[in-house]
Subunit: 487 residues, 2 copies
Amino acid sequence: MADDKALTPRSEDFAAWYNEVVLRAELADYSPVRGSMVIRPWGYAIWENMQRALDDMFKATGHENAYFPLLIPMSFIEKEKEHVEGFKPELAVVTHAGGKELDEPLVVRPTSETVIMAMYAKWIQSYRDLPLLLNQWANVMRWELRTRLFLRTAEFLWQEGHTVHATAEEAEEHTRRMLGVYRTFMEEWMAMPPVTGLKSESEKFAGAVRSYSCEAMMQDNKALQAGTSHFLGQNFSKQFELRFQSEAGTEEYAWNTSWGVSTRLVGGLVMTHGDDQGIVCPPRLAPVQVIVVPIWRNDDQRQAVVDKAEAVRAALAERGLRVRVDAREHVTPGAKYYEWERKGVPLRIEIGPKDLEKGQLALAKRVRGEDEPRKEFLPEAEALATVAERLEAFQSELLERARARREANSHRGVTSIDEIAEIMDAGGGYVYTGWSGDPAVEQAVKERTKATLRCIPGEEFRSGTAPARCVGGEKDAVMEVVWARAY
Amino acid sequence: MADDKALTPRSEDFAAWYNEVVLRAELADYSPVRGSMVIRPWGYAIWENMQRALDDMFKATGHENAYFPLLIPMSFIEKEKEHVEGFKPELAVVTHAGGKELDEPLVVRPTSETVIMAMYAKWIQSYRDLPLLLNQWANVMRWELRTRLFLRTAEFLWQEGHTVHATAEEAEEHTRRMLGVYRTFMEEWMAMPPVTGLKSESEKFAGAVRSYSCEAMMQDNKALQAGTSHFLGQNFSKQFELRFQSEAGTEEYAWNTSWGVSTRLVGGLVMTHGDDQGIVCPPRLAPVQVIVVPIWRNDDQRQAVVDKAEAVRAALAERGLRVRVDAREHVTPGAKYYEWERKGVPLRIEIGPKDLEKGQLALAKRVRGEDEPRKEFLPEAEALATVAERLEAFQSELLERARARREANSHRGVTSIDEIAEIMDAGGGYVYTGWSGDPAVEQAVKERTKATLRCIPGEEFRSGTAPARCVGGEKDAVMEVVWARAY
């Protein structure tokens, strides 16, 4: 379906642009079920590529996959006090099944700590069974009032890692290791460089001792919490009697972590790289890395350019690239360009009769630097030989561009809540300040500026000089923190 | 956890053997949620390998993946009359969410025809949008009263393909194409050769015009319906207004297919190849194809054999094989053999100090022919060079063995219900007879023999001579059919 209407520009209405681009790049669609979306093939293919990369990273760090039940007894969710307080308002509940009312309502999992801990308690006896490092790819359900495609939907797809360790130190280390895996994935695959750090008490996961997060800056300068990793301490193991015999022969409660990323990442990808023409797929995640468009004016020309397009496709596929030929007859070349740009394909190769004659290919990059030509004409052999490195270069450019944008919109050395408010009203961004750790200050910033405490950044993100004063003004700072408006 | 108790032999109690082997090979476990199981890492790894193979086959036949909502409005399920009759007794229903009672109950999908058709109706306008070939990997829920691990659980994992075509012929052809994909997968990957054919009216999918199935014979001679492919006609497209403009300019209802296989396949794998020592993984699906066990008596020996084991692993991994070294210190070699046999690893390589001296490896196949030695001692280089072909040979042996067993337990030319009953009581199997198409005969066979009409077999499975008389005795046969007791 050709759809030639331009997108609302990002500068005019970022939220409207986002919805339009998600729908018109055919990443997702609204469903007849309130709050649930349909992930269309193009969006799902991006998610599949994300899954594959993450799954490989999880396996390389010693994890195996498993699958636990969708439905969880209400009594399980209620066992961990903070956990149930956090999730109860968002639960979807099965009360009837098989034509009868159930004795105990079953909750559609909002997350699986409880049922997984119950199984772990059955499987683990000794320190020899530890660490236990499992991951689950699954759908989860959190009944949200205001939903947005990919960013906040009642049902979403995610992975949730759940690990068991013999010591607090090892669990804490694993929590941070997985935060690092997420950061690496976001940088190297998504070209979306997050700031990582510790959540404040008020923002941590319901039931965790400490939560860490990846905070990625979107093009509207708002933060997207794109992945979290939690040190759960013994909170769940005590409720579910997850004990093991230690090497010394004593009976101990185990230490847990959990961590997850979701289809929200697809939304993050859109808001990190998309432009007024559509989404932009980083080559490593693009379902199609190269689209080949043969151009003809009459049937005589058609066969020759389509044959060449097919040969180019085969040659690039041979090199391990994901390539498609768009030889549709009822769509003009211009409409094809427009469609594949909207879908974010990193590189387009055009082949017309003149290119055939000259033995050349025309290459068009999805996003060009200011000094780059609209198209490059290259001898065929040179084009084929350099496509892979061009894609790698494009991947790096996207990361550098996103990092430069993040840093250009990061404000360090800010010392007052007024100043945070000014920055937020002037376009937002990340604001680094000192903080005493006083929740009242956190609350005051939030009320005054609508920015929340995104994280206490890890060492590599901290300003050179530690801030002396808390942004609340009255106390000494004991740490540096990052504030931003957020999704 | 070493567990040295022998399994109940298959010959003694096949059902008990099945449950024990599934639990003790750590494929799955019972969960605290009625009717739902936990798929443990070993079982999930087999499922992942199945998924990858099937997904590649779906993509090679032009399909893309997508994801549709878990929860479906009750009114959707009720639209197609036969569909709701078939599924209503098994529905799990969400009545409350976000702390409130819902206006309309939502059903946890038992299958997704309805919600998918509703989306297709939105996306499809013209014959140019056809065919639409999508697949979904998802969890589904059917509230079963009597559940069995993998074979029949309230929640299970599956894939469901849903396609849209412009003509009945094309949809029918696609239905059969996907049946063929399933058959190829079961034969080439699972080494489980099914009989494929058409379901009778009484056994077809609720809402289909015609259903085809793969019927695999288990070692207790019962049939397992292992995959189905349905020609839905226009039944759903009429209920969901799925229309398109034809090339001739007319408005037409589209034609649909749907088809699925599930985690039930893992149960089929167990019951096809397992023996009294445990499960047997066909090499192409085995999570670990080769287990390397170093053997030592003292610490001096340990380092050398573990180093060699690691070198062997690396050399085989280099060849693209899935290999693991079991160098655990607190487990005896015998216990390791026993454990990996139970888990069905196709090939074991043992390396002791004497093997090191002689530059040899000891190879033990998971299942041996009668004339094969318990172990083969081979020079290291020869062993490494031939492991891949040994695994391929083992894969073929499993298929041949299963096919021979199926044929040995297939009874052709049977002409009376009494004879079916005798065969069923004498150990069962597949019974081929003539059938007039009269449902009363189908019912009579079922009541008398507990065998059901598994399918009207495809051409390649039919007996050389078409049966003249219906097994019911009174009428002429118009087709040949296969009867068996079934899971």
